[in-house]
């Protein structure tokens, strides 16, 4: 459980204690203006900015440098701290989300408290948005950084809030990424709870037979992983379960989980009879709607867990299955139940869903001969609707066209938006190789089939992926290339045709020749979209990107972390990924969680409320307005022999929202690191007559 006092934990033996500069010492400010190559320097006059800032009070060093984030750039700072007595540092560079930590660490390495550092985003918020007016951009840089200097004068050393952390992680999603992350964390000694929304493990991988780039059998791959997860004593799995509420913070999240009942006991034996008795038929999502299933079902023979379940959404409670339910093997009156767990961190591995073309896109939904690539994968699967035979509606396929980039790289105004108004303007990456892999597989097993690969661009980006393209090229697969403005027309049948036709394809490999393809089947290589995670976005306050995949803090520097400390991403929840990449991301996510929790304690930013006992009059306004539970309370103290009440903050429960700051009538409470005085000083600096500006801009 967390140390709710939030008292600093003494440094362990051998740790270097950062120098805690006295709040009363004279500020000696070092100012550093980064050119960021030419990113800032091409617009902002960095030398003049540094020169102007050097004239400000308390500034003892003011420099510009080509790359402040480089080792030599950081060394400028550390040397100035050691040699010139700099005790506050202001850097103007790229976004604070990229390099604030870099410079804090540099400051800390030189022995200065890392919170005596302030970062100004000169690139994203100045040079990159004011190309057209470099003089104004330079003035803006000077004013923004003079505001930083004003804040630096008031900065005080801070210590992070150190909390105990539960060595217990939650994994949301039981596909390959979630399974891999769970296994990696459990093997490193963390307790892991995995929740999977469906009643079965394996996710999308279970729906494929072969997976690139190794052509391995997907079920074998999956079975091996699931067996290891099931054998791991540190892992607890809840299927049919989803997170419905959460509160807390890294180290101590309280998670509420709702689990749907399976409705069928594990030892129920009359499975086939019960399934046969069920009168309900709904499209089978496992076969992407190519077949139907009953309301008592299992997705495939070797699924894990092995038993059947009730589909509560579609079950009519007709009780026909109960005829085979000896001793209560089937329980139609089971109800969902909720329970809570405490975890220190979470891995979100909610995966993806294939793009569902709207009615009419390239004939989809209008012509039965137009299907998607995931549906083709099910047709090719030995346990699929045709038993692996390449046939459609009982007829063998002899001519087949595969069209790339359906539901990917869409253009606003050209493509029909999704129901939420968005178009998928991103490349789904994995579908090119998946298409070529399927084409090669068909060529191998059905050598007489004519295959036409109709593409806009082919992006076989990963190791071994290009081999699929080369193999297809050498193996009588015919390529036709279209351009975005001239997408192929949908399928149409003409009188007397034995086969439907893929309407006109303007082929740019033959200098724009218009070609009609008589085919039996058109396969749309649909893109990848995130699984619906709106509920998790609300519950966890994590952000989706403009593509609606969950957003990492930084794609290069912090690629699996979300903006919420303690919540990390794994796999295709974050963007289109193949199995190889999903497992790599899962490994990274597991490492990040282990790094957070393995010591049994975490450090939080010290940005929490702090009461000035000299100013506090015990009005209790802060307690009344505080939205957090147990973050602030009144205590009785003795002052000059008189009993008085004063506000006391519990740092672990304070999230620094600042509601108390604006409510206090005596200005006796502030958020450490973001004090009202700081902002007033910054506004003064932004609006001041700055002598430093004279003669500079």
């Amino acid at each position: 459980m967390p140390d709710t006092t939030g008292e600093p934990v003494p440094a362990e033996k051998g740790q270097v204690q950062p120098q805690s500069a006295s709040p009363d010492e004279e500020p000696r400010i070092g100012v550093y203006v980064c050119h960021c190559g030419d990113n800032i320097g091409d617009v902002v006059d960095c030398e003049q900015t540094a020169e102007a800032l050097g004239k400000l009070g308390n500034v003892v060093v003011s420099r510009s440098y080509i790359f402040m984030c480089s080792d030599p750039g950081q060394k400028l700072i550390t040397d100035d701290i050691k040699e010139k007595g700099v005790n506050r540092v202001v850097v103007g560079a790229c976004s604070m989300f990229l390099h604030e930590q870099t410079f804090r660490q540099a400051v800390s390495r030189a022995g200065l408290n890392p919170y005596l550092y302030y970062h100004i985003g000169l690139r994203e918020q100045d040079s990159w948005v004011h190309h057209e007016c470099p003089e104004e951009a330079t003035e803006k840089a000077i004013r923004l950084m003079s505001a930083g200097v004003a804040k630096a004068r008031l900065m005080r050393p801070l210590e992070p809030v150190r909390l105990e952390a539960a060595k217990h992680a939650l994994v949301i999603g039981g596909g390959v990424a979630g399974l891999r992350a769970a296994l990696d964390m459990a093997r490193r000694g963390l307790k892991v709870t995995l929740v999977e929304k469906t009643h079965f493990l394996g996710g999308r991988t279970a729906q494929w037979e072969h997976v690139f780039p190794t052509d391995e059998d997907a079920r074998t791959l999956l079975r091996g992983l699931i067996e290891k997860v099931l054998a791991e004593p540190n892992i607890t799995i809840h299927t049919g379960a989803e997170v419905v509420a959460a509160k807390g913070y890294v180290g101590d999240f309280q998670i509420r989980i709702r689990q749907q009942p399976r409705g069928v006991s594990d030892d129920f034996e009359a499975v086939e009879q019960a399934i046969a008795a069920c009168p309900v038929e709904v499209p089978d999502e496992f076969d992407y709607g190519l077949t139907t299933r009953k309301a008592i079902y299992r997705p495939y023979e070797e699924c894990t867990p092995a038993g059947v379940v009730i589909d509560w959404e579609h079950c009519t409670r007709c009780e026909k299955c109960l005829e085979f339910s000896n001793n209560g093997g089937i329980r139609l009156d089971d109800a969902p139940h909720e329970f809570e767990i405490n975890v220190g961190a979470m891995v979100v591995a909610t995966g993806f869903r294939p793009y569902e073309p709207p009615q009419g896109e390239l004939g989809y939904g209008e012509f039965p001969e137009v299907i998607t690539l995931p549906q083709l994968e099910r047709i090719l699967a030995s346990d699929g609707p045709t038993g692996g035979r390449l046939e459609w509606n009982g007829h063998p396929i002899r001519n087949l066209a595969m069209i790339h980039c359906v539901g990917s790289r869409q253009i606003e105004g050209v493509h029909k938006p999704q129901p939420d108004g968005n178009v998928n303007d991103y490349c789904s990456r994995v579908c090119c190789t998946a298409t070529l892999s399927a084409a090669n597989q068909i060529r191998e097993y059905f050598p007489d089939v004519n295959i036409f690969d109709v593409y806009e661009d082919i992006r076989t980006y990963g190791r071994g992926h290009e081999d699929y393209y080369l193999q297809a090229s050498e193996n009588r697969i015919t390529f036709l290339r279209y351009v975005a403005e001239e997408t192929p027309e949908g399928v149409k049948a003409q009188k007397g045709d034995q086969q439907p036709r893929l309407g006109r394809v303007k082929d740019h490999l033959t200098w724009g020749e218009e070609i009609e393809l008589p085919v039996d089947l058109v396969v749309l290589a649909v893109g990848v979209m995130p699984s619906p995670v709106d509920d998790l976005v609300v519950v966890f306050k994590i952000s989706p990107g403009h593509d609606r995949f969950l957003l990492e803090v930084h794609p290069k520097l912090r690629p699996v972390e979300t903006a919420v400390t303690g919540i990390v991403l794994a796999g295709a929840a974050q963007g289109p990924m193949n199995i190889q990449e999903s497992c790599a991301a899962a490994g990274a996510a597991a490492s990040k969680v282990e790094g957070l929790l393995s010591q049994g304690r975490v450090e939080l930013e010290p940005y929490v409320a702090q009461v000035d006992p000299e100013r506090c009059q015990g009005t209790g306004e802060c307690v009344r307005v505080c939205p957090q539970e147990d973050a602030i309370h009144l205590e009785t103290f003795s002052v000059s022999g008189r009993e008085v009440q004063r506000a006391v903050v519990t740092p672990a429960n304070c999230n620094g929202c600042g509601v108390c700051v604006s409510a206090c009538p005596n200005r006796a409470i502030d958020v450490q690191g973001w004090r009202l005085d700081d902002y007033e000083a910054m506004v003064d600096a932004l609006t001041a007559e700055i002598p430093a500006l004279e003669g500079v801009v």
Binding site: V129, E139, N655, R667, E689, V697
Partner: protein, 150 residues
Amino acid sequence: MKTNAQTRAPKILILATLSGGYRGADAAGQSQLEYAPDTYILPVMSAAMFPESFYWRAFERGVDGIIVMYSGTDSPYKGAPEKTAEIINRTYERMKERGLDTQRLRLAAICTVCVRPFLKEIRQMNEVLDEIGLVPSSLPPAREAQAEPG
């Protein structure tokens, strides 16, 4: 270029939450979309920390327009957006009482990827300032820097 010694340029202060508007501003920068340089963005954890007196003081110091770019319903801080809206509404009342055009203060929900709304807010504030001009050099005195309970 205008300096303070000459006819000064307008100044727009943007208080942008780290979980919303500040990232939205970064997203606009990453897209390299131009906007007026008279904008000064300060990162804030939550705008709920600023009492009415802060806004009044900023106008007194010569800030011509203030945009509070908070996270609205996406705020990670429970209760903070509502509190921010309350404070802004009370500030509007005081601005009206003292004859300061309330268009100088705007509250906008800006998310991490709200590039177009971010640019729109800045454009609209610039249009307002073009119409109503710079903040008067002398404002009626502010009340004691106190927040009203509740």
